[in-house]
């Protein structure tokens, strides 16, 4: 048997029909995650053609994108403020009921951001193929799954056939050598990487993140890294399962139990890339010099250390981007005045992210004039954080503590920033208008976001750490 990469093993195990020069492979999908925004038109196709959902038990729905984060809109008191969002939520409720698909509804204690709940429930497992009508599906790759975002036509294909027509992507190894310095997080690591390989650097490739620095990350940190694979243009990002993965999954409600768990472990331990397997491309990245990072432009590749300066570049796209941001080449980043802080999104809304922000906010107040929103990734994360008193830390610091959802990462539920305002955000995209028309986003880690909230100016979180 030839040596194979992690990706090649997962791909091969799901090849219903191998690809040929004329036709793509038919690839089997183990888990199809769905949400309210990218599914209504797909269910409409099933209705038009009189098709059922082929494997309802392999389909799991949640409400997150256009879903409110205000408790009154979820648990009663006021209706969902955006009428079209309310219709979208109702449409998924109706479609799930009509097609026999499980939906973690508005008031379900397991509801949350689609990429937070899959792992949290143990539904995301090593060796699986997972798709969702959302580009950040790459998050699940942290478990050694081949997970990628698809459009609505393909959502329809998976609903109807449990398969997709796919060309086999190329492979890229990113070898992270060294250890991350204290006060530097997985978010800083992935921002630094995208800054280096560029927002199109991974196009056509599945990235496998490898090396000592990856092995040292918690599952939350690994999810943050894989989550932003799409911001480098990659088809997916993957990390081989190890004891950290197994420890995380053990006992979760949808993970295998008993004898099935033992069988699963045998399979999972065979997944890591074989010695001698060949990647189409390899990048080596020493992480020991990485610093807290922040973006200064309008794509996630435009980043620099918080303590650094905005570089100068000649091209028109770069100038347009800085003009939108109201920045100049050569500007120092630390000290930039900030209006808003957002801690949340499928990138950084898990318990460890909230702890990192709370550690800095504990016993402090956010700066006058700054508005800070903290949105847990799921209702389970919310309850766990409240169990540790993190909600009180945030509220006493002057931040708002909300119900789970995508919230200000995409602003579809009305959680947006004002035109011209600067937002330090733990989310994944700093595109023009992403957080509200005219709003200016600076992507950073939860610790940097919290430190910035305290001073009202972009701040290196290491200034607050003991």
């Amino acid at each position: 048997m030839t040596a194979e990469t992690l990706f090649e093993k997962v791909w091969r195990a799901h090849e219903v029909v191998p690809e040929t020069a004329d036709a793509p492979a038919v690839l089997y999908v183990d888990l199809h995650l769905i949400h309210e925004v990218t599914t209504p038109q797909a269910f409409a196709v099933l209705r038009e053609r009189g098709l059922p959902v082929r494997r309802p038990e392999r389909t799991l729905g949640t409400l997150d994108h256009s879903t409110p984060t205000d408790a009154r809109e979820i648990f009663g008191g006021v209706p969902i403020r955006i009428e079209s969002a309310a219709r979208q939520v109702a449409a998924l409720e109706q479609n799930a009921a009509a097609f026999g698909v499980e939906l973690l509804g508005l008031q379900d204690g397991r509801r949350g951001i689609v990429h937070v709940i899959g792992p949290e429930l143990g539904a995301t497992q090593p060796g699986m193929t997972i798709v969702c009508g959302d580009s950040h599906t790459s998050t699940h790759g942290a478990f050694g799954t081949y997970a990628f975002g698809i459009g609505t036509t393909e959502v329809g294909h998976v609903l109807a056939a449990q398969c997709l027509l796919q060309r086999k992507p190329k492979t890229m190894a990113i070898e992270f050598g060294g250890r991350l310095p204290p006060g530097v997080s997985a978010k800083d690591l992935i921002l630094a990487l995208i800054g280096r390989i560029g927002v199109g650097g991974g196009t056509g490739h599945v990235i496998e993140y490898r090396g000592e620095a990856i092995r040292a990350l918690s599952m939350d940190g690994r999810m943050t890294v894989c989550n932003m694979s799409i911001e480098a243009g990659a088809k997916a990002g993957m990390i081989a399962p190890d004891e950290t993965t197994i420890e995380y999954l053990k006992g979760r409600s949808r993970a295998p139990q008993g004898a099935a768990w033992e069988r699963a472990l045998d399979e999972w331990r065979r997944l890591p890339t074989d010695a001698g397997a060949v990647f189409d491309q390899s990048v080596v990245f020493d992480v020991s010099e990485v610093e807290p990072m922040v973006t200064y432009g309008t794509n996630p590749g435009m980043s620099a250390p918080v303590g650094g300066r905005i570089p100068a570049r000649g091209d028109e796209s770069f100038s347009l981007s800085l003009r939108y941001m109201g920045f100049e080449p050569g500007d120092a980043l630390a000290g930039k005045r900030i209006d808003r802080v957002f801690v949340g999104s499928c990138t950084n809304s898990r318990l460890s992210d909230l702890r990192a922000a709370a550690e800095i906010l504990r016993g402090r107040r956010i700066a006058r004039g700054v508005r800070m929103l903290v949105v847990p990734g799921s209702q389970q994360v919310k309850r766990a954080a409240e169990g540790e008193g993190l909600d009180e830390v945030f509220i006493e610091a002057g931040a708002e503590w909300r119900e789970s959802g995508c919230s200000m990462c995409i602003g579809m539920n009305g959680d947006t920033a004002e035109a011209g305002h600067y937002v330090v955000s733990t989310s994944n995209r700093n595109f023009e208008g992403r957080q509200g028309r005219g709003a200016r986003t600076l992507l950073a880690s939860p610790a940097t976001a919290a430190a910035t909230a305290v001073t009202g100016r972009l701040t290196d979180p290491r200034e607050f750490l003991p």
Partner: protein
């Protein structure tokens, strides 16, 4: 889907790199359960100011852009979100092909599934097209060649199955459903 063969049109040029799907169609327009009518929201924040007035400096608003079916844009077009509303909006506005030096993977897949052609050309061809907005060009899907006004023939890559489906109006879902016996056999094999 109707068969697609040749697209002949004047171009509109947006000479910006990394145009993301949030620009193509901002997220606030995605709270809908329909797939029609997205054309008026295409590049909404580039075409209209905050009060909804048309911006005359936007290439898409110029009179000569009316009726154009080919958009020329910078590298890595369609990066970001998986929203299929992006190709729906481009098609509804009237575009049938986008020419760039590279496309984001999910966008390219979504575009092809809807009959919008992502046409990848070399840097020199792209530079010429960018410098000559409104040039009349022809894109022939059958031969996979883009013809420049001076007669220059630029071949472009296209995934053979997508090309076959577009040329013949083949429905990919129908093809996938025809694989049902093999899918069932695969499931049975795995269940053992």
């Amino acid at each position: 889907m109707n068969a697609l063969r040749k697209i002949r049109s004047r171009t509109v040029v947006l000479p910006v790199n990394d145009i993301d799907t949030d620009q193509i169609i901002p997220a606030r327009f995605l709270t809908t359960t329909d797939r029609a009518g997205f054309g008026r929201m295409l590049f909404a924040d580039w075409r209209f100011d905050a009060s909804g007035r048309s911006r005359p400096d936007c290439a898409l608003n110029r009179p000569e852009a009316a009726g154009s079916a080919i958009l020329v844009a910078g590298r890595n077009f369609g990066c970001g979100s998986s929203r299929e509303h992006a190709p729906w909006a481009l098609l509804d506005f009237g575009f049938r092909a986008i020419v760039s030096t590279s496309f984001a993977d999910i966008f390219a897949t979504n575009a092809l599934k809807n009959g919008l052609l992502p046409v990848v050309v070399d840097g020199a061809t792209h530079a010429w097209l960018t410098a000559h907005p409104g040039a009349e060009i022809e894109i022939d899907l059958h031969s996979a060649v883009l013809a420049l006004p001076d007669g220059g023939q630029v071949p472009f890559p296209i995934e053979p199955f997508a090309r076959y489906c577009l040329l013949n109006g083949v429905d990919e879902l129908g093809y996938l459903l025809s694989q049902r016996p093999v899918i069932e056999a695969f499931e049975a094999r795995r269940a053992r």
